[in-house]
Amino acid sequence: MSKRTDIESIMVIGSGPIVIGQACEFDYSGTQACRVLRAEGYRVVLVNSNPATIMTDPEFADATYVEPITPEIVEKIIARERPDALLPTLGGQTALNTAVALHEAGVLKRYGVELIGADIDAIQAGENRELFKRIVAKVAAEHGLNAESARSAICHTLPECLDAAAGLGYPVVVRPSFTMGGAGSGFAYDEEDLHRIAGAGLDASPTTEVLLEESILGWKEYELEVMRDRADNVVIVCSIENIDPMGVHTGDSVTVAPAMTLTDREYQNMRDVAIAVIREVGVDTGGCNIQFAVDPRTGRMIVIEMNPRVSRSSALASKATGFPIAKIAAKLAVGYTLDQIPNDITRETPASFEPSLDYVVVKVPRFAFEKFAGADQTLTTHMKSVGEAMAIGRSFPEALQKALRSLEKKGSSFGWAGDPGDKDALLSACRTPHDGRLRTMQQAIMAGATLEELYEATSIDPWFLDQLYLIDEEARAIGAGELTLAALTRAKGHGFSDAQIAEIRGVTEPEVRALRHGLGVRPVYNTVDTCAAEFAAKTPYLYSTYDEETEVPYGDRPKVIILGSGPNRIGQGIEFDYACVHASFELSAAGYETVMVNCNPETVSTDYDTSDRLYFEPLTLEDVLEVVHAEQQTGPVAGVIVQLGGQTPLGLAQALKDAGVPVVGTSPESIHLAEERGAFGRVLAEAGLPAPKHGTAVTVEEARAIAEEIGYPVLVRPSYVLGGAGMAIVYDEETLSAYMARAGAASDHPVLVDRFLDEAIEIDVDALYDGEELYLGGVMEHIEEAGIHSGDSACALPPITLGGFDIKRIRAATEAIARGVGVRGLLNVQYAMLANVLYVLEANPRASRTVPFVSKATAVPLAKAAARVMMGTTIAALRSEGMLPAEGDGGTLPLDAPIAVKEAVLPFNRFRGVDTILGPEMRSTGEVMGIDEVFGTAYAKSQSASYGSLPTKGRAFVSVANRDKRAMIFPVKALADLGFEILATEGTAEVLRRNGVHAKIVRKQSDGVGTDGEPTIVTRILDGEVDLIVNTPFGSPGQSGPRLDGYEIRTAAVLRGIPCVTTVQGLGAAVQGIQAIAAGSVGVRSLQEHAQRLRG
């Protein structure tokens, strides 16, 4: 058995936009798969709507379709490309569901496409809970294994749910079938809960099916990552144990690899069950994960579920062990067996083995509740985290403390300063799983809680609890005696950062560092080698630890260290990983030895294949300085790149430079020029560029005075933030005072107060500057007007309404800023155009979120070019070597260039009850791109890729703010002309009627049910009577009345998954999109074809 030669081309489906529960781990797996399949000589056809991914770079596939991942569109691509096979197991649930839909629609059969790496029966068996339950019972009986399923019932209606729950006894777990990331699941403690959760669950499930289960809350939770080849060889790549017991979604749990609290007898039983189950399910080849719950009192083991595909956990397992699951899965899918595939890391041993770890890996979730006021922050079976960080250490305390500081969030690390507060209050807080519960537990320990009390409160295994006590004892030891060599070594071995030690000792972090370095206490770097040092490792994948020997290899080539972006969060995600990975590829090709530092296990940057060397490390000053030191000990370091990983590395720039580290690209001083409002104001003044009137305030009084002078509304935000964190538009003094009070608590930096340019067109620019020449990467025109964060706003490139003159002005302004600030590399500028005046809103001398989108839309690898510019190559040289176009730039695209639309994807379905209107604070988790000949079609594609297709008929409900009434008339009329029945609230309906559009008046929620039982609009939406909602917000948040009405409408829309347009500009775009779909003009084209047209 060997590689298949009967297939030549393979289609790979990606996972689409980053959403909660499906993030960039699928870029990692998909990128690996594409690389492997191409290296094996197959023609690869890729479909993924997410432009921020590395996999959608034209160089990773032969034909790359950045198109909506819908069965209709994928069928069009299949018809064009005629692939021999489809590999659907590397693009998450999205790819798997699409493959099932294509199979069921007969598309695969019609075009003779073979499904590889998965089979439909196995997918069904893995996903269908009743079938799966039978499989578990069967293997347990046949092999005499300890395994059961939770007692449960499948229900299709609410009455069925109520009956079943009565039989099972409350609490019951509700799990909808065929949803990803546990969407729609939860615990029902009583009938009322059940009504709510099961009702939503039945809706969320594409098969209107939910499973009710006995509660196994508090049981130990485990997961095994399994691989099988077609010769039936099976290996367990990794075991993972959740510190948070059953009840918290694995994605939201703190997890550890390998499992820490199983004897061999229990572990082997689990392994036997996993293998027997995947054989019985019929997982042909590839990776899958299987989850278990173990009763800590009796050892009774329940098999929770399995996923017949690679997953977030398999990305974690790959990073935790060095065993590249997705890569191997791709090879197995084309016919190899495990023993035929070499282990990349040892190169001498085969992939048919089980990794042995001589370290501990801890993963911690990163949440973004601060972005979603009103969201329930309790952790449940419904995943809510937006990212994760992983850390490796030679002991659990070391790995855990490194992981917590990798979160880069104030208060995420353990701390011993101050009074922890009341023990009972802390213990009571520990009962409810929440973001930072381990820290709450540590505080409870400080306050005197016993292990028994903590166990009673949390059900967390006593072994883990004891490790927290161990950390606490170490903290006390640090505080007690002299900081001797032995004491410091011990503290560092338990994962304490210099900052923590400083806090405990009441000294400064630099003082601790100086003392430590003086004593020669530095970390060593161990290799992740898959085999616990049994064999020599060839692939340098390193982590720091306070141990005996360092394993950093010596090298002659000049080294470039690239600092990554850390855990994904809203505002800093995959786009920055994209830039880092590109820089690494390009600089490696240019002769440098590339060194990546990052702690996000989901990413391509933390694939050991990406850079010449990978350090899996937190991105704190201390950890980065140690990596730089280690690298300097083993060869020349040419530079450290901080401008590609977002705000995380940028925030370290000055301190790194102060410590003598060669920071390349834009200098820390220049970064400061752009970030510090006063300094930046002087840059603008010198260049003669206007900015909205503004000021910088530290106190409430200062803020009031500034607002008074420039006039309300004002835009307020803390300086040095990304993703608009803490940004708000403030209309009055009272709100301003409240804002200042909150801001003071959240940040050490002053607050910027700007005049808010209502109704301006916002423009985003990405550019390159080498000190001499500016290359305008792309000019993006926002579809929503100013006031909505650029990350949440849809935008078009080339700009749809700006003319050549505007572009010239923008180029000139951007160049002036680049020169004034002293940029070397990438620059992102945001402008607002109002009454023909071009205002500069802000400039960021770094890679931006839009770099991958611009690169794909214009067929120019901006991040690669930026990396070269940072290392000293000129734009002129890059033009002559062909990386950049010989002439022109992203501002001079040909008139027939395709239009690319970027649309943001928002996680409101995860945070029920949170208002969905857009504002100056970014809340989107991901983005999609729609690309086509004209704006309407491109916009329709972007909507289809992000939220599901726009409706082309049915009922449209319209309710807009007064200021939008004039602008909505034409688009609503167009909807009516397209055949939509228009529903509207009274005021809106009046305006429409006077303009010749018939609109049926419907009751507002605040009107209540009519006398003759006439339902309100919210009821109508919930009943599925409405197909499109147009609702622009008015009134202040939190008030009753109109704002609340809108809130309830939008919430109902999220609940039912109905398209909801919240800006009048968005409405115009939607109408163009609907017209395009109605005209039947939606075609598909690969990025390679677009590039051919743009660059020849």
């Binding site: 609290t261 082997q268 009192r297 001589d358 072994w463 609890l465 070594t489 616990a532 141990d547 020997e549």
Partner: protein, 382 residues
């Protein structure tokens, strides 16, 4: 950099390398061959495996003792390792089956150990320089040079005849579970409890005999099959066992050997054995059945291996034989099979305690061979 010495205990290797740590388990000093095990689970089974007699075992997995010690998992009546090296001993034992802590158990059985940060450095050292003698001193009273001297004067593994030291003094019987199908004579060269259990599960009444059992002793039981167990020491010294097996082969009784038993069968077939540089000890070794191509993830604990031609069948005093299994990591011989008589053996542990159960089918093969002793085919192959 050098690490601060927080504790008093030291691990001294015969080549002079010293590791510092804190005492773990019993206090005192101990000597043995320094080996490492890469298993991440199963420390209790490892400690009680007689094959580790006279060896100081270092665990590469950092956290040891987390699930405490229970009464079900020991593989023999005592801990056999000469010394124990770990990185992070558990302070709390957590398992519903745990009866006491590992630290307590080590003290109770007088096993000297050390907890030290440098277990990975130690493993790398052994990987590069091979297994060597070592000593653990929990409160060293002499300078390092003297400790090294002490280590160098301790007995070496090559040439050590240890099977008799760990073997049962008296024969005993493990009854078949359910209906008895076969009588098996199992020669205890260091047998683990799980091995007769796995055979008993399959209807074998297992008569466990001392290592010194002769062919006559064995055949007197009129067994359906003879089992040769794992065990410690240098196979080159166990002439008595080789002689006994020769007698069994002459009688034509089916033979199944594992680990040390594989080496004994190999020697009876006229093959040589040699010491591996640092052995295979762990639960993740890929072994390929050369006939089916199937790969088992298997449990290993051996420092010696059989030298045999892998390019095809070869002649022995008992007819043709072949290398049936190889290790995919290093190509080492992992199994032998006589082609004209009912005898086979593997270098690893199908009873797998600790370790994965992939190779359990070898016991079925043994049973099939006993059911049809005239053939050399064991029926279902794994």
């Amino acid at each position: 950099m050098t690490l601060a010495t927080t504790g008093t205990a030291v691990l001294v290797l015969e080549d002079g390398r010293v590791f510092h740590g804190t005492p773990y388990g019993a206090e005192g000093e101990t000597f043995g061959e320094m080996v490492f095990s890469t298993g991440m689970t199963g420390y209790q089974e490892t400690l009680t495996d007689p094959s580790y007699h006279r060896q100081i075992v270092a665990m590469t997995a950092p956290h040891i003792g987390n699930t405490g010690v229970n009464d079900e998992d020991p593989e023999s009546s005592r801990i056999w390792v000469a010394g124990y090296v770990v990185r992070e001993p558990a302070r709390v034992a957590s398992s519903w089956r745990s009866r006491r802590s590992l630290d307590e158990e080590l003290r109770r059985q007088g096993v000297v150990g050390i907890a030290m940060p440098g277990t990975r450095a130690l493993t790398r050292h052994l990987r590069e320089r091979g297994a060597m003698r070592a000593g653990v001193f929990t409160s060293p009273a002499a300078p390092v040079e003297e400790l090294v001297e002490k280590v160098r004067s301790s007995p070496a593994m090559v040439g050590a005849d240890l099977a008799k030291e760990v073997s049962t003094p008296e024969p005993y019987v493990v009854p078949a579970h359910g209906e008895k199908r076969f009588t098996v004579a199992a020669v205890d060269l260091g047998i683990k409890a799980m091995t007769p259990y796995r055979m008993a599960e399959r209807g074998c009444e297992v008569h466990v005999l001392p290592a010194s059992a002769t062919a006559a002793d064995i055949l007197a039981l009129d067994p359906d099959g003879v089992f040769l167990s794992n065990g410690p020491g240098d196979p080159a010294t166990a002439d008595y066992a080789v002689e006994a097996v020769t007698g069994v082969l002459d009688a034509g009784t089916p033979v199944f050997g594992i680990c040390f038993g594989n080496q004994i069968l190999g020697r009876a077939l006229g093959l040589g054995t040699y010491k591996l540089r640092y052995g295979h000890r762990g639960v993740n070794q890929p072994v390929q059945d050369r006939r089916t191509g199937k790969v088992d993830i298997s449990a290993h604990n051996h420092g010696f291996a059989v030298q045999a031609p892998t390019d095809g069948p070869f002649d022995t005093p008992y007819g043709r034989a072949e290398v049936s299994h190889v290790n995919l990591n290093d190509g080492c011989v992992e199994g032998l099979r006589l082609l004209d008589r009912p005898a086979f053996s593997v270098q690893y542990h199908p009873e797998a305690a600790a370790g994965p159960h992939d190779a359990a089918g070898l016991f079925d093969e043994f049973c099939a061979l006993m059911a049809r002793p005239g053939t050399t085919e064991g029926g279902k192959s794994v």
